[in-house]
Symmetry: C2
Subunit: 244 residues, 2 copies
DNA sequence: CGATGATTTGACACCTTTCAAAATTAGTGG
DNA sequence: CCACTAATTTTGAAAGGTGTCAAATCATCG
């Protein structure tokens, strides 16, 4: 048995980035939560195309959700940061169509899908929150689809950097050296529908223009205004999101 | 006042494509439903970037959800068919970031977002359904993102044709001449992240190979096996979806 | 039967991919 | 702490898919 953290003492809640819950709600979440799991960087949290009764909240670390084509081409659908809920996306025949993989060592709280109905029945407010989380994640996928479909390579990269930087800051990653950025260029390429080579050349150009800097696993935005202008990206203002 | 159809007599429910609801649930849906609206083809159901308290169920007709960049580039996020729920996607500062436009004359049932909480509280089962609908729509956006990011032009088109054909059949559009297909090539281009010209040339080639046929506003699939193979597309098996 | 919108074609430019390989960084065992 | 290997990042060159521009053909409709 690993050391488990009580939901009442969940470090995420202390960040002040989440909408508050009543004691009873947190009690329920605590009972809903089955256990906690640590996943090593590069390891799957959810395997594409498998049956799984598990749902997760990413408590610590980064991850990403993706789909692949039979011939191996991979598309990253969205990146997951601490506080994100995983597994809400629809299943088909009991199997998830996407995979989730940890980018860093990740800690996830594990829930059971078959207990979901209980949550809706006993705490409609939490059900409401789940819908909100689902809808919010779709918003991000929407934005990615807009990027991949209609933005040029440099615009896409600018947009992604601004987006991730904003999200990381919103959950408390402030550091003069920049946010922790555990992403390889291959991930960026896979998220933006670009080839690795072209991703590299484009990033090289942006970095050369002094728009940003990536070093030592950290991303430092040097000219957020220029990046936002380049991407025609009105970064989504982030409000407090629910935490289950 | 227009002629309104009682939810109990909703023609959609008779299709047998939706999960059943209790009498009480339908009563509530009826009370949740504010009124019904007819939207002409090409007219907006929801304006991008505006504040709106309205939610909809598309009762009849086709529509699509989209986002645009400031310079006018447009990306269609997904197509909406009868039975689809509209407006669940997150709002930011009370404004929807996407737009919805009717492709044909459309009939929508109008609900109020501020009544949503009531729904969750009184009928958790319906709240559960809403989450399902939200998750299911995200599934479709996921698939589109995978397409736009990783499939070639002809693969994307093959995938979209199979996908729409399958959905149309699932809701009862069976006709030896093919399904009703109220989409212009510009829509296909905008949905797949392609230019109109290249979309046309690619479709011409596919049609020339006898894979499909579009005529008189109908889509006839001539070789579904080849299309699925081309797109490496395991069409999502459609189960009964909830109807609100 | 014009008028407007949609589809179709051809030519050409260019952004992005692919192929190959070097340079750099990170990771591991001695 | 250094040698060694794997992983990641960078570069260069060339091929190719897709976009852009322009104009013709076709369809729909009042």
């Amino acid at each position: 048995m690993r050391k488990e953290i009580s939901c009442h003492l969940c470090p995420l809640r202390k960040r002040g980035c989440h909408s508050p819950n009543t004691e009873q709600e947190i009690d329920f979440i605590q009972s809903f939560k089955e256990y906690e799991r640590e996943v090593a960087a590069g390891q799957p949290i959810l395997r594409e195309g498998t049956a799984s009764d598990e749902l997760f909240t990413l408590r610590e670390g980064w991850a990403f959700r993706y789909r692949t084509l039979p011939d191996g081409r991979r598309q990253i659908l969205n990146f997951l940061l601490p506080g994100d809920f995983i597994g809400l996306q629809a299943e088909i025949n009991g199997k998830v169509l996407y995979g989730v993989e940890a980018l860093t060592t990740a800690h996830v709280c594990v829930f059971r899908r078959h207990n979901l109905w209980d949550l809706y029945r006993k705490f409609p407010s939490l059900g409401y929150d789940l819908t909100w989380l689902s809808a919010h994640q779709e918003l991000i996928v929407d934005e990615n689809l807009l990027s991949v479909g209609r933005r040029s390579a440099s615009e896409r990269i600018a947009m992604l950097l601004v987006h991730l930087h904003k999200r990381a800051e919103a959950i408390g990653d402030h550091d003069p050296r920049g946010i922790i950025f555990p992403i390889r260029q291959q991930h960026i390429a896979d998220a933006l529908g670009l080839s690795l080579v072209h991703t590299n050349k484009t990033m090289r150009r942006l970095e050369g223009s002094g728009l940003h800097e990536i070093r030592g696993g950290r991303l430092k935005i040097r000219n957020i205004h220029a990046l936002q202008k380049l991407a025609e990206y009105d970064a989504i203002p982030l409000r407090n999101q629910p935490l289950i």
